[in-house]
């Protein structure tokens, strides 16, 4: 039996990190961004997936950073790597189909798993311009599975995102813009799509045929109806499996003693 932590022993960031870590399978090739996703991946590496391989967008293949990098361009990424190269290599490897799993984030997600990281409001007259796509659509286009980690606010879980930066299960077919299933558009490059959204409220998955998001597990203290109320679309809560698996004490020890001792990405709980 796993030695699960008590509610007062972990924070929301710990829960997200461990939930994300559990999405990683042994021997997988994982396309990693910085921040919480990297902590999650390194946690998996130190627990159930010691042979996973990390690819960093900036060009490092199978890097083994001894401490958390501040960006994928960081020299820390390259320690112990199999090869340091450049972005052309990283994206070629991705398009060629080597990547099993990508971890991503976003400002908005819709019922099909389409994600927006480009702008809030009308693209031509934006309320707020964000960072832009970065590699979000690319990793998502090419990986076998992608996992999104997001803050859960009602305005972020919408029926249709204001700009599709990163493709979900039903996407727009250009030049017309009608929605079609991802499989239809991607052809031979179809390898999967968003497999989970881990929000601060629960874990969501997708019906691969309808392309619609459903609630898989609720984080401790949340219930399905409450979470449905936190979405601007009619979230399917008929398939809920129960509660999100909580962190074990060993996972918490690795996160806070080994991976992020300064609490840069994952603050220590202070519920005293």
């Amino acid at each position: 039996m796993s030695d699960y932590a008590l509610p007062e022993e972990y924070g929301l960031a710990d829960l997200l990190c461990c939930a994300a870590s559990r999405e990683v399978q042994e021997n997988e090739i994982v396309f990693a961004g910085t921040g919480l996703p990297m902590v999650a991946i390194m946690l998996a590496q130190k627990t159930h997936a010691p042979n996973l391989k990390l690819i960093f967008e900036a060009g490092t293949l199978d890097g083994r950073p001894p401490e958390l990098p501040t960006s994928v361009g960081d020299a820390r990424c390259e320690m112990g790597a199999s090869r340091s190269s450049g972005l052309y290599d990283a994206f070629s490897i991705a398009q060629r189909g080597y990547v099993d799993l990508g971890f991503l984030g976003g400002a908005e997600v819709d019922q099909y798993g389409n994600v927006n990281t480009t702008c809030i409001g009308d693209y031509l007259n934006p309320e707020l311009r964000l960072t832009g796509s970065g590699g979000n659509p690319d990793i998502n286009s090419f990986a076998g599975r992608t996992v999104f980690i997001m803050v859960h606010e009602k305005r972020r879980f919408v029926e249709n995102v204001s700009y599709i930066t990163s493709p979900g299960w039903r996407v727009k077919k250009w030049p017309g813009g009608e929605f079609v299933h991802r499989r239809e558009l991607y052809g031979a490059a179809f390898r999967g799509g968003p497999s989970a959204v881990i929000s601060t409220a629960g874990v969501f998955r997708f019906d691969e045929e309808s392309g619609l998001m459903y609630l898989d597990t609720c984080h401790p203290g949340k219930n399905p109806e409450e979470i449905r109320g936190m979405c601007r679309f009619d979230l399917d809560i008929s398939r809920v499996k129960g509660e999100t698996e909580v962190p074990t004490r060993e996972e918490l020890r690795i996160i806070h003693e080994v991976l992020d001792p300064d609490g840069i990405f994952i603050p220590r709980v202070n519920k005293a």
């Binding site: 934006p126 659509p137 930066t165 250009w174």
Partner: protein, 322 residues
């Protein structure tokens, strides 16, 4: 091409004219040619057209200073030290700048095509996204698609005729006037050795008509040529070279120094408004030259950033919390 390729920082900036199409070395907050960026701001360059695989702190400096008319890329921000590009965001809102969005891989493939002398690359990335929305062809809307530096189409949609792979987009080659590259070492004849990840530097150089290399050190050409398989860019691809220690600060350089996170956080925090940017530029750019900039930073700060030789990064840098 002359065999004496050395120029000064001021001359490097003078090669770049108002309206020039530019690209840079590096990745987000690493190996950006900041000393030349500062000099461009001092020289008040305007109407620059940046085509970048990705943007970063250097983009925010140029955009904030009003140097940039068009930005084609996929991302801007300061990573951990500033979540988005506040200067770009402000100028997008006020329509002072044209932004043309592609995905990161699309930008990389655009540069790879340009570097190989091909007019385009075919990819299956980002299908179904609003990147491909024909309404969002901003350079087309502005009537700027002349087929010279700016291709006649943002994308062309097609199908794979060879293997029935399905839908594809063609992305146009990147073509730029000048690539400005910041690296660890350059030889007297222009041979470049990049240590660590080379990002998209080799492609950036080949898409450009003129390449300027700013290095931490100019080394004897013969030293680099002893191990040709460790070099990154051939000398004949480089037109001008200059030596400028710490020229990438506040961005970092593998094996030499870390990102100055505190500096970037300060920049990000203070430059949300134009007044804030102008104030920051008065403090750190105008009235300075590179040496007085470094003096203002001071040695203790720079020693803290200095990379450990065995690790290639600083073991003393404080990365800073959220």
């Amino acid at each position: 091409m002359s065999n004496n390729k050395r120029i000064t920082l001021q001359q490097a900036a003078e090669i770049i004219k108002n309206g020039s199409t530019l690209t840079f070395s590096g990745f987000t907050i690493w190996r950006r040619p900041m000393a030349i960026i500062y000099e461009l701001i001092r020289q008040q360059r305007t109407g620059l057209h940046l085509i970048e695989v990705n943007g970063g702190s250097h983009t925010e400096f140029l955009v904030g200073a009003g140097c940039v008319g068009i930005w084609e890329s996929c991302w801007v921000g300061h990573e951990l030290y500033g979540k988005y590009g506040a200067n770009l965001s402000r100028k997008v809102g006020s329509k002072e700048i044209i932004v043309e969005d592609y995905s990161h891989a699309e930008m990389m493939f655009r540069f790879a095509a340009g570097a190989a002398g091909a007019p385009y690359a075919a990819t299956q990335s980002s299908l179904g996204t609003d990147l491909h929305n024909p309404e969002y062809d901003m350079l087309g809307r502005a009537g700027l698609r002349d087929g010279k530096r700016i291709p006649r189409h943002k994308y062309v949609f097609t199908e794979d005729p060879f293997y029935d792979a399905g839908s594809l987009v063609l992305v146009p080659a990147a073509k730029v006037d000048i690539a400005v590259i910041c690296v660890q070492q350059v030889g007297e004849e222009g041979t470049v050795r990049v240590n660590g990840q080379y990002y998209s530097d080799p492609e950036a150089v080949r898409t450009a008509d003129i390449t300027i290399v700013m290095a931490e050190e100019i080394v004897p050409e013969e030293y680099l040529r002893r191990n040709a398989d460790q070099n990154t860019i051939a000398g004949f691809e480089v037109n001008h070279i200059l030596e400028c220690p710490f020229g990438a600060h506040p961005t970092g350089m593998f094996g030499r120094y870390d990102v100055d996170g505190a500096f970037l956080k300060d920049f990000y925090g203070r430059t949300r408004s134009q007044e804030g940017f102008d104030d920051f530029a008065r403090e750190w750019i105008h009235g300075h030259d590179q040496m007085s900039y470094l003096e203002k930073l001071g040695w203790p700060r720079m020693l803290g950033l200095k990379a450990n030789t065995a690790l290639n990064y600083s073991s003393r840098t404080k990365k800073g919390g959220k």
